[in-house]
Amino acid sequence: MSTKSKSIETKTDFNQDERLKKVSKLRLLLNRPELGALGGAILVFIFFGIVAGDTGMFSAYGVLNFLDVSANLGIIAIAAAMLMIGGEFDLSIGSMIGFAGICIAIPAIYWGWPLWMSIIFAFSMAVLVGYFNGILVVRTGLPSFIVTLAMLFILRGATLAITRLITGRTQVPGLRVLIEDDPLAWIFATDTFKWVFTWLGSMNLIALRTDGTPLATGIPPSVIWFIALAIITTWILMKTRYGNWIFASGGDKNGANNVGVPVGRVKISLFIGTAVAATIFATIQVLDAGSADTMRGTLKELEAIAAAVVGGCLLTGGYGSAIGAAFGALIFGTVSMGIFYTDVDTDWFKVFLGAMMLIAVIFNNYIRRKVTESK
């Protein structure tokens, strides 16, 4: 290398360094996709802390209440976020929730299956539906938006038709008695850390019922599932080979294929993931309510996608985070419950949801430009 070219290089390096130093801290932060959702969640808590701090929203009972709502949404939002990072959508999540619900209830109530077998049956159906979605998208190359929109109608219609055919109604009640002594159902139906709440109650630190038992009895199963899923998926994305393949498949399908990433298999597995998450959601809700409803989960797919977008996922794929989607779900859950504690009419919740999503998309778009612009 000649001395002349060397001196030119050092000069440009110097310039770049100088330019980078000014923005490096900000850029480091901006590089994390979940930043917006984290900031949003903090703002939401500050807001309700001021407006509804003394209303019982932040009592043990109130906190568990909005955590439960957030966690339910979070379970499907995390799966939707993983799929979005992989470059695809699943609009059939909401319908899958309804379908999974009757897959548990009808065999258990009408065919006399043990509950655990019905639950396994529902999860098997979820894997099939997810696989079918995935293979259709991968094989045909059609946009997943269209394919899963079709599946949204097919699943919802089938749920309604099958349920009415077999039961003559659209709801299947009577599951609660089956939960006890079932070897599997407790995973989806048990409140945990009850002793903590009993102890807190005995110390008079949390609100009690008239009979002396605490109002909040334990951490609901949805919250445990939600936290576990957030940790596992974040670990997968950041620390495993499969995680790298998800980013690659969503970022540039052809490029990833050229260097040997099995893009098709990655995408199919992510579609199975959303269907399975929908089934986890359905199982928890069905066992909690003791009944399955054919309309359960309606519009949930859009809420899940909204939470994923607020959490930093780009609609074009290849960028986002699972923990961001978890924060997105926390924001929605907190606001949807918190609004009851304020004087604001609850009708305004949807306005908030939409506005939040718009802000997030504009913010994300700006981030993407920052991340990809050439120097």
């Binding site: 590089n31 790298n244 980013f247 690659a248 970022g251 540039d252 490029g255 990833a256 050229n258 040997g260």
Partner: protein, 264 residues
């Protein structure tokens, strides 16, 4: 064992009635840079895809390190050490330098069934490799989108070399680059060859090819017009051998005529 790392003997490829390649012969030694020149439609893309294992030749034979070989798939070619860097580079601009470098071939650590992507090791290797070619990656977790076109090209080449390429096939590596960036990439290509790789550089830019090439093969309408050592051919001759050469001469004459006519 033959002197040549890779040999193409009388390769032909037909698509239906179209003759995409006819009797193309070329051979490369270790450390040699051969430039494949040709205008659009000369058959460059078909030849690249034959080299990369995407197409199977209809006639002729490919000999790699003295052994007659048939590539059934791009993976076959890759396993034989023939790495193709396409124009799109197979880089994801939203992903970090490290994650791109090891995309599809991530280093793993940990016990079986709990293996994780060894990101620290990957970061270290990526930064080291990029450092070797004079690109100072301050932070290997920065997105590839923040790199310049030349740096991206170098990253893609560096990745191919790291994963065991013996023959490097580069498809128009300088076509989208400015003068300075192109010279950075060309310098790196020469360096790679000096380490014992054989490089096939596909381009239509004689000015980029001539300074770095050891030999030149000119393609025109699917046929090879021959391979020339650098000492046997001048830049001007090469330029005129490409289909563009004649055309440019004609254009020059025409322009001269046009300039003359308004004066009259």
């Amino acid at each position: 064992m033959s002197d040549y790392l890779i040999q193409f003997n009388n390769i032909s490829k037909f698509f239906g009635k179209v003759i995409a390649l006819k009797d193309v012969t070329m051979k490369l030694k270790k450390g040699e840079i051969m430039c494949l020149l040709g205008d659009n439609g000369a058959g460059k893309s078909t030849l690249i895809k034959t080299l990369a294992g995407v197409h199977r030749p209809d006639e002729g034979e490919i000999i790699v390190e003295g052994k007659k070989t048939i590539f059934d798939s791009p993976k076959d070619a890759l396993d034989m050490g023939i790495a193709t860097v396409y124009q799109d580079l197979a880089l994801v601009s939203l992903m970090s330098v490290t994650r791109n470098f090891f995309m599809g071939r991530e280093p793993m650590k940990g016990p079986p069934f709990f293996k994780t992507f060894d990101i620290e090791k990957a970061n270290k290797i990526a930064a080291e490799r990029m450092g070797q070619i004079g690109i100072d990656v301050r932070d290997p977790s920065q997105a590839v989108g923040t790199m310049s076109g030349g740096e991206r090209q170098c990253l893609a080449i560096s990745r191919a070399i790291y994963f065991g390429a013996k023959v490097l096939v580069l498809d128009e590596p300088t076509s989208a680059l400015g003068v300075h960036q192109a010279s950075v990439v060309l310098k790196y290509i020469v360096k790679a060859a000096s380490q014992g790789l054989a490089v096939i550089l596909i381009t239509h830019n004689v000015h980029h090819a001539y300074p770095v090439g050891n030999s030149f093969t000119v393609l025109n309408r699917g046929k090879s017009l021959g391979t020339y050592e650098k000492k046997d051919i001048s830049r001007e001759k090469l330029l005129s051998m490409m289909a563009g050469g004649e055309e440019l001469n004609k254009l020059e004459v025409e322009l001269r005529e046009m300039n003359r006519s308004p004066a009259n």
